[in-house]
């Protein structure tokens, strides 16, 4: 009969009108500034830099200013300058790390290519600013966030990263031990400062000074530090 569909429609809206007052399954609105929904773990928007020690955020950045992310970034929103000492020697940390989030497309390619797990995707979404030029250009200090924060926003992913880093460290320690065993016989005088040097930056790259004479073929090459920082 004509009109029965209209009555059915009216019944549907009436059910919603009444249901929104007593049925939480119908009334799903979150009153945003006061209430917040928990973001899904895989939510991402813009990258940030991970540091290990909150007491020294700039000193313990994992970033070595290798500029791979800068070169890979599709919209070219990253700008990196490596820090150097007074003699011009590269210090393997960024002096400038700028990221323009008005240009960033949140593609996560920088995260994929980073060999040091230094750059990760953030979940901070309240980033509106009154200054669209300066306010959206994030510097090293703005980007640097602790590993604990990373654990907080992406728990599963961060645990995996920590495990991989620990494994890598253990492998390097084993390689060093294997290296240290034959070393004292061959070059007893030069090995001690060389091992001290490798101990310092073995976490970053293979030892630049004093290549071990015999143990090179049997030490498994670590893929991550195999990318030497380019000389900028």
């Amino acid at each position: 009969m004509l009109g029965s569909g209209l009555l059915q429609g009216l019944a549907v809206t009436a059910k919603n009108l009444a249901g929104s007052f007593h049925d939480p399954a119908r009334y799903v609105t979150t009153e945003y500034p006061e209430q917040r929904t928990k973001l899904p773990e895989n939510y991402r928007n813009f990258p940030f830099l991970v540091h290990d020690d909150p007491a020294d955020p700039n000193g313990t950045l994992r970033c070595v200013a290798c500029q791979i992310c800068e070169k890979e970034c599709p919209p070219q929103c990253i700008y990196i300058v490596m820090e150097r000492d007074e003699k011009g020697k590269a210090l393997r940390r960024p002096k400038v790390f700028d990221l323009d989030i008005s240009v960033c497309i949140s593609c996560q390619i920088c995260v994929e290519v980073c060999p040091f797990d230094a750059i990760k995707m953030d979940q901070e979404y309240e980033i509106a600013t009154r200054n669209r030029f300066g306010g959206l250009l994030l510097h090293r200090e703005d980007l640097s966030k602790s590993n604990a924060y990373y654990h907080q926003i992406h728990p599963t992913e961060a645990a995996g990263v920590d495990a991989a880093l620990a494994e890598q460290k253990a492998k390097q320690a084993a390689a060093k031990a294997a290296k240290a065993a034959p070393a004292p016989k061959a070059a007893a005088t030069t090995a001690t400062p060389a091992t001290a040097a490798t101990a310092q930056d073995s976490a970053i790259s293979p030892a630049p000074a004093a290549p071990p004479p015999a143990s090179a073929p049997d030490t498994p090459a670590n893929p991550a530090p195999a990318n030497p920082p380019p000389d900028a």
């Binding site: 009969m1 004509l2 009109g3 209209l6 429609g9 009216l10 549907v12 809206t13 009436a14 919603n16 009108l17 249901g19 929104s20 007052f21 119908r26 009334y27 799903v28 609105t29 009153e31």
Partner: protein, 408 residues
Amino acid sequence: MSAHPANALPLLERLPVALRDACTSWLPESWRWLANSLLSIVAIFVVFATLFALLTLAERKILGRVQNRPGPNRAPLPFLGIRTYGLAQPLADGIKMLTKEDIVPRGADRVLHFLAPVALLAFSILTFAVIPYGRALLPVELDAAVLYFFAAGAATELAIFMAGWASRNKYSLLAAMRALAQLISYELPLLLSIVPVVLVAGSLSTSEIVEQQGTWLFGVFPQWHVFTPWGFAGFLIFFVAALAESNRSPFDLPEAESELIAGHLTEYSGFKYALFFMAEYFGMCALSGMGVTLFLGGWQAPIPALAFIPSYGWFAAKLLALLFVFMWIRATFPRLRIDQLTRLAWKFLVPLALVNLFTAAFWVLSSGWAGPLAFARWLVAGTLVLGPFLVLGRRLSAGLGPRTYRYA
């Protein structure tokens, strides 16, 4: 306000009139009628302007709840910062409207552009004069009140066309043409649906029509017109036509946002826009009030035991219930196309309203039937209402069923 013997009524019933008389008693006798009329106008305007403010909020709240969201609930009270479930929202809207820039297009006819909202509001307010708000509350006692009401209501079409024409905007003009087509199409079923009421009541006076609905069948059932076969059909036709006359969804074609920006309101901003908005709600209130008066027993109580509640309270309750249905319908139905709109009027509502005239005539002629004949009376009248509805309803969508599309 009226010529009723006011002193015979209980205190609560004649309170508004007594208050008005107390205000004007110090004036000389020859001036009192003028002061009384002015006070009535002010009272009506204040009451309905407040109602308008609350209705805009209620509409947004109801639409929100139907869509499972809270609706406006944040506007705080000024200077206090207390949120009152959005009650301060009309105030915020009003301030926003008043402080907006009033833009008149360079090519517009400035005089007509200014006059259109004023005329629309004036005609809308005119219709409030003849609605009986209570037993003793009828602003103007007219013998031809129903005629006056629809004559004043029809004049709003002029104002809408003025707005569309004066804006010198193609969208506005198209919308004004549409509005004219719609309003004239629906004027006919609207008027035809109230002819049976006049026929049965034998009067064009609103107060008399309400008085006649004040009897009770078996002492319990109210004898409102809507509880008769012809009255029920007439009320439904009246309601659909009233929806169209007040440009409400699903007949809001003149303001079809998706096609015509805002229709005849495209070139209006600020306070003039607010006036249009106000006139729309006033028209809705007036038509609802007339529907209550003609079909729903006006200010009469639904059962005799509840007659101690003042009559204007009952009128307000019925009016608000009808306005709620307006909003409920807006929350439910999508907009009609212009061809569907006119087809519904000319091929469905007008024939039904014409048949309804005969039903009412039969009802009047058979008023003396009693006993088993009373059942026959209901049966015949019910068939006269339902039969054409079913037949015409089948014809209405015949051949226009689910569309098939062929792709080249």
